[in-house]
């Protein structure tokens, strides 16, 4: 049992004993419960913006175009790198050492957000052979820069 000695005094020290048994009991139960219910991999979700077949809100009668809709902001994800279209400007971001140039894309998108803060979404055209991991990575970069990812795809042939 834990005890606190009050220091020097006459004769024996008066000890104040803290009863730690209930604390330890509580801790043990709590730790057991938390360990049993622990989720070691936190699964979350990444949200898509409008995509090729997003359902329309039936209650919304008047369709208002989002701000800066006339400004083209499109990201092509290809097997050899990214191609970013900002208005009439085209920036090619080829792969570096077999990996996508994430840093440059992130910096470019951040600049675009600074120039056009009202622009809400980045359209993404993705080649068929691209792995899902790279799709999510690009969407994540878009979200980091403040753009909602919108997937563009052709329909079935």
């Amino acid at each position: 049992m834990a005890q606190i000695s009050s220091g020097g005094g006459r004769g024996r020290d008066p000890n104040v004993e803290l009863n730690l048994v209930p604390v330890i009991d509580l801790m043990s139960v709590l730790i057991t419960f938390l360990l049993l219910s622990a989720v070691w991999t936190q699964v979350s979700m990444i949200q898509l913006g409008a995509s090729f077949a997003s359902p329309r809100d039936l209650e919304q009668k008047e369709l208002k175009p989002p701000p800066n809709e006339d400004l083209v902001l499109k990201l092509d994800i290809r097997a050899n790198g990214y191609i970013l279209y900002i208005g009439k400007e085209v920036r090619t971001l080829p792969m570096i050492n077999g990996a996508y140039d994430v840093a440059s894309l992130s910096a470019d998108l951040a600049k675009v957000k600074q120039m056009y803060p009202q622009k809400g979404g980045v359209k993404m055209a993705i080649s068929d052979e691209i792995q899902y991991e790279h799709v999510v990575a690009a969407m994540d970069i878009g979200l980091k820069a403040g753009f909602s990812p919108e997937l563009l795809t052709g329909g079935p042939n």
Binding site: M1, A2, G8, L20, V23, I24, M27, S28, L30, I31, L34, L35, S37, A38, V39, W40, T41, Q42, V43, S44, M45, I46, Q47, L48, G49, S51, A53, S54, P55, D57, E59, I126, S127, D128, E129, I130, Q131, Y132, E133, V135, V136, A137, M139, D140, L143, K144, S148, T153, G155, P156, N157
Partner: protein, 202 residues
């Protein structure tokens, strides 16, 4: 004040020293370290505790991609795409090879199963909305607002190595069944310089 010889001394050396006397031996455990450890453990586990209550079943074959601008999971229809099969809520609807080889974008079994589940979800939600309207307690609490499109939400959890064409076929089938918006399940990754990275995009 007593003068002690320098060196290591147990905190209870005065008590232990009494062993020489005829009194009973009192062995005292130092619980401080254990309580400290318990406290740290409890704090760590509480921080990792899943507060949303939404837990996805992830098959062994599925390795989720990582992202850090994420939102909390919401209840929805879950479509799982692994390198072997496609599942809707743990029910296999097609094999991966079938979907990959298909020239038609619509996967009939996936679309039909998804449609059945979504219709059931819609009926459940309609019933819930009607019950809520009758429930005065909910009205007073201000909880009656319910997203009318909540039943349509679909979460796709796919292996990170899946090709985008296969994913497009699955998304197309889900939309054909009346589902959407679609969200992608990802493993949350923490940034070193920014611990609070939850995105609120809606």
């Amino acid at each position: 004040m007593a003068i002690f010889r320098p060196g290591q001394r147990h905190r209870y050396h005065n008590i232990l020293k009494r062993r020489a006397s005829k009194r009973g031996v009192t062995a005292i455990l130092s619980l401080t370290a254990m309580v400290d450890m318990f406290t740290v453990l409890v704090i760590f586990l509480l921080q990792n505790y899943n507060t949303t209550g939404e837990i996805l079943y992830i098959p062994k074959e599925v390795t989720l991609p990582k992202a850090n601008r994420v939102s909390d999971l919401k209840p929805s229809l879950v479509v799982t795409v692994s390198s072997k099969e496609v599942l809707i809520d743990r029910t296999v609807v097609a094999t991966f090879d079938e979907v990959k080889a298909a020239t038609n974008w619509v996967i009939p079994n996936l679309r039909d199963q998804a449609r059945v589940i979504l219709e059931k979800a819609k009926a459940d939600q309609d019933a819930k909305i009607q019950n809520r309207l009758r429930n005065i307690v909910d009205k007073t609490l201000g909880n009656e607002e319910l997203d009318p499109n909540a039943w349509r939400k679909v979460t796709i959890q796919a292996d990170k190595a899946i090709d985008y064409l296969t994913l497009k076929k699955i998304m197309y089938s889900v939309y054909e069944a009346g589902g959407g918006p679609i969200n992608f399940a990802v493993a949350k990754e923490y940034e070193k310089n920014d611990a609070t990275t939850d995105a609120k995009t809606q």
